[in-house]
Every structure is written in C-alpha cells, then in structure tokens.
C-alpha cells in the first residue's frame, strides 16, 4: 500500500510539523519507500507471539515517597525561549 497526499497531510498534522505543498511530493515518496520496507513484516507469521515492548522484562520499581529533586526553576527556565515571572510564555490560547 502507499500513502495518499491526504494521508501524508494528516500524519504531518498529527506530528505537528508544517508541511508546505512544495515538500509534499518528496515527503510522500520517502514515506512510501519506508512503508515498502516495513510492509515486509506482514509476511511473518506471528500467531500466538506475545509482543515484546522492551529489551528486558522489567517490572517498574517503586521508590520511597519523598522529595528528591531540589527546586531548580531558574536554571531550567534559563534555557527556555520565552519566560516571564517564572512562567513559560506561549501565544494566547483562551480568548
């Protein structure tokens, strides 16, 4: 199978990546090539096989319920594009 222009636009929207019309054809072609590669998986019989989500069969650890992280707001916000009074600035979302 191969992706249509509409499907490529939909995926770009899901991924929050602007996709100008000029790049659509090239992107679609590359994605279809990758899809051709991963389509090969359909030929493998995986009946009854448990999916392997991770490299090790880990059980998540529990930790003590205590504060381990110091307050480093200033250091962390020093690398943000736009900050004011300890808050991250973004365009207005509620009119």
């Amino acid at each position: 199978m191969s992706l249509t222009d509409q499907e490529v636009r939909h995926v770009a929207k899901l991924a929050r990546i602007e996709l100008p019309d000029a790049e659509l054809e090239r992107t679609r072609s590359h994605l279809n090539t990758m899809l051709g590669l991963i389509e090969q998986l359909q030929a493998i019989d995986t009946t009854g096989v448990e999916p392997m989500a991770h490299a090790t069969e880990l059980v998540l650890r529990l930790r003590e319920d205590r504060v381990t992280e110091p307050d480093r707001r200033d250091a962390c916000q020093a690398v943000a594009p736009a900050v004011e009074n300890g808050l991250y600035l973004v365009p207005k979302v509620i009119e």
Partner: protein
Amino acid sequence: MNAPETVKSLAAKLAAGEASAVELAQDYLAKIRAANPAINAYVETNEDATLAEARAADALRAEGRAGPLTGVPLAHKDIFCQTGWHARCGSKMLESFAAPYDAGLIERSRAAGLVTLGRTNMDEFAMGSTNESSFYGAVRNPWNTGHVPGGSSGGSAAAIAAGLAPAASGTDTGGSIRQPAAFCGISGIKPTYGIVSRWGMIAYASSLDQGGPMARTAEDCALLLNTFAGFDERDSTSLQRPAEDYTRALAQPLAGLRIGLPKEFFGDGMADDVRAAVDAALATFRSLGAVTVDVSLPRAGMSVPAYYVIAPAEASSNLSRYDGVRYGYRAPEYGNLDDMYVKTRAQGFGAEVKRRILIGAYVLSHGYYDAYYLQAQKVRRLIAQDYEAAFAQCDLIMGPTTPNTAYRIGQNDEDPMAMYLGDIYTTSVNLAGLPGMSIPAGFGAGGLPVGLQIVGRWFDEARMLGAAHQFQQTTDWHLRIPG
C-alpha cells in the same frame, strides 16, 4: 612508527608521573585545533573548561586520591547533557541548549576524574548512519576524507581514529557505536540494554538506546565500561545488579571458545573485501583455539523492517517534547499556539528526523497500530528468541559489522534505503537487547577499515571484551593510524 596512545598507556604515564593531566589535555587540544577543521569530529571545544577539569584531576593525584583513570582525557558525544557545555544533539532544534544538569554517564565520567576534551558531532538526534544529517556539517572519515565516518556516533569514532582523543562516549540505537567504529577502524561496545544509565542521554528510541565506550582497544573499552556502567535510579530501565569488573576476562585464553557464525550474516549482501577481512579474522580466532560453529538467525532479515517501525514510533513520541516552549528553538514568526508548534518543528528538525517522526506517527495512528507497531513488536520477540536458540550452541556470535566499508559522502542522498539496509547486521542486537561490539578486522578496497562484530549473551560483556583483547594481542589492525 610509535604506537598510538591508549587510555591504558595514558593512565600509566599519569600514574608514573611522566605526564600531568594538564599536559595531556594541552597536547590533545593542540591536535584538535590543528586537525579538527578538516574532519569536523568535534562540534564544541572549551579549552578553559577542559583545563579546569585537568587541573582538578592533577590536584586529586597530588592528594593521593586519584583513581585508575583520573586525568585521562576523552570526548563526549553531543547527546549527553553536561553542565558547562552545549548539548545540541546534531540539531538546529537544540542550537541554543546548554543542559542545567549532568547525564548519569557524565556524572560517572567526572567522578572517575576523566577530562572532557570536547563534544563530538553526530547525526541529528542520532538518526542516521553517515553523520551527514548533522546540522553542524558532515564528519569526514580520517582514513579517506571523501568518505563518511558512519553514524550516528561518527564524530566520536573519527576523533579517535584521527588521534584527537584516546576514547569517547557513544550511543547505539541500531548500530550507532558499532558501525562508525567499523568504518573508522576503532573498537566500540554497546552494552546489554540497561547497563549504562540513559538519564540525561537525549532520547531517540528509548527501548533501544544504550550508551557505551568507544576507544582504540578492547582493553580500553573494558576500562571505560567499568566507569560508565552502574545502576541509576533516575533511569526507570536501569538494571540493579552487582558491580562487575569488565577487565576480568581479558587474559583468558580462547581455547574451546565456541563462536557461532549465523549463515544469515554471511550471505550475498556482503562485499567481497569485507568478507575477506572477516574470514581472515575468524581464522585468527581459530588459530587461538576457538572453534566456529554454524548457527542460524532465521528472522534476522526482518530486523531492519522491525527497527524502522519501532524506532520511529518511539522517536515520534520522544521528540514531541520539542515544541518551542521549554527549551530549544522557537520559530521567529507564528500566529496561534498550534502555528507556533508546527513552524518550530518544521524549521528546527532536519529532513531525516522529520521522515522518522512522520512514519512513526503513521504506524502508531488509528487503524495501523496493530498492523505495524504490534506486528513489529511480535517480530522483535521472534528475533530475540532466534538469538536465544543460537546461543544454546555457542558462546559468542561473530560476523561482519557492516556489509560494506564506509560510504562516499553524498552516496545515499537520494536513496536513504541503502543506508537503512546497511544496518542489517547491527539492528537485531538492539531489538534483542544484547551486548554487541565492533573491533578492527583489517582493511578493504581503498584502504578503508573493516569491522568484525561480536555479539554476546545478555550481560556477557566481559567474555566479549576478553575475546576481542586476545585477538588484539595477535593483530595490529587496532593500532593502525591514517597516513
């Protein structure tokens, strides 16, 4: 010709008082100034920071508090968060980013007194096998500057091959330590998943990413793995195990060692020059007393397709954090919030990263999840089971690290598929979570290095490093330097 310096030789000089950490650092910094512009292995140096670390190491030694590696210089891949340095991860998205904390591997490196020479170039967000996807320019292979060094840890591999660092950190998601090690004629090991902390290691595909050392010799890799490995409670997949000495099997003779040769790794895809070098390396192992046995990994051919579902799926989730709000790049002009996101990400990510995010979003999207993502996870288990079955017949598995020697720069520009398929021998190891390494096995056409891959059972790094070390006692491929 003098033998090139190694971690071990430099540590010995420091211990004997023949050199100070400051002198070693100054020596390497001068070499970097002279030679780095031609190969672009380092993306950042900071001589003041390096020399401050070196002075601190010398002070520790003067106080009698030096560890075995205190004062030895090394380079770090630009993927590890490190205070005082940028962590740009090969991306425009993180051009302004300097981490406010140290990665687990960096903490361990600092605690051992290792001195940071600089930060090494890499494919953007570790997505690539050539280093050409770096926003900071391609790295050149020191053996032939018309060729790539491999990727994604290509800067680390090239720096070592060019003598601009004795060792470096790397990360490996589908071969990113082993493949550049093979292309640049050095040694590198991707440990068992969970051995080296992923805390502060910028994420690509979290169930596959693993940090590890790259160096000239297997012995150096063992010394550095002793430093890098260990439990970190901040990494939820870090394994709680007793500390190991990874040098413990270096002197072990190879008599009786059973080396499995998967027939799928010796098929038609391999270039003749790679085959010749790998065959000769295997003959050397037999001459040292090892025996080779034929094994099979029937689903190994499916590892690249499975990888290109699982890694992009995890990447599309991991890289959703780059939204222009908390760190990194933000588009200069935008309308509403959504417009800010889509423009920031369109401008901040390069083409290869966008491709992988998009295919990842697709395989996770409604209606395709079962057909692609779940199916890939099932195939992943079959690949891991194939390895388990093969290891019932052998102690280690060996084969070529890559089907070819280093690509020409620009060779894969129009067709990334050839580059993806070049990872055919390495990706299965990450999918199974096994340790894998690459060591120099000779040279192919045009004098480009060939790598031999060694894969072990889970947690069998010491045996792999020991076999590699024994091989390096009777060969000198790992000591050759570009002319």
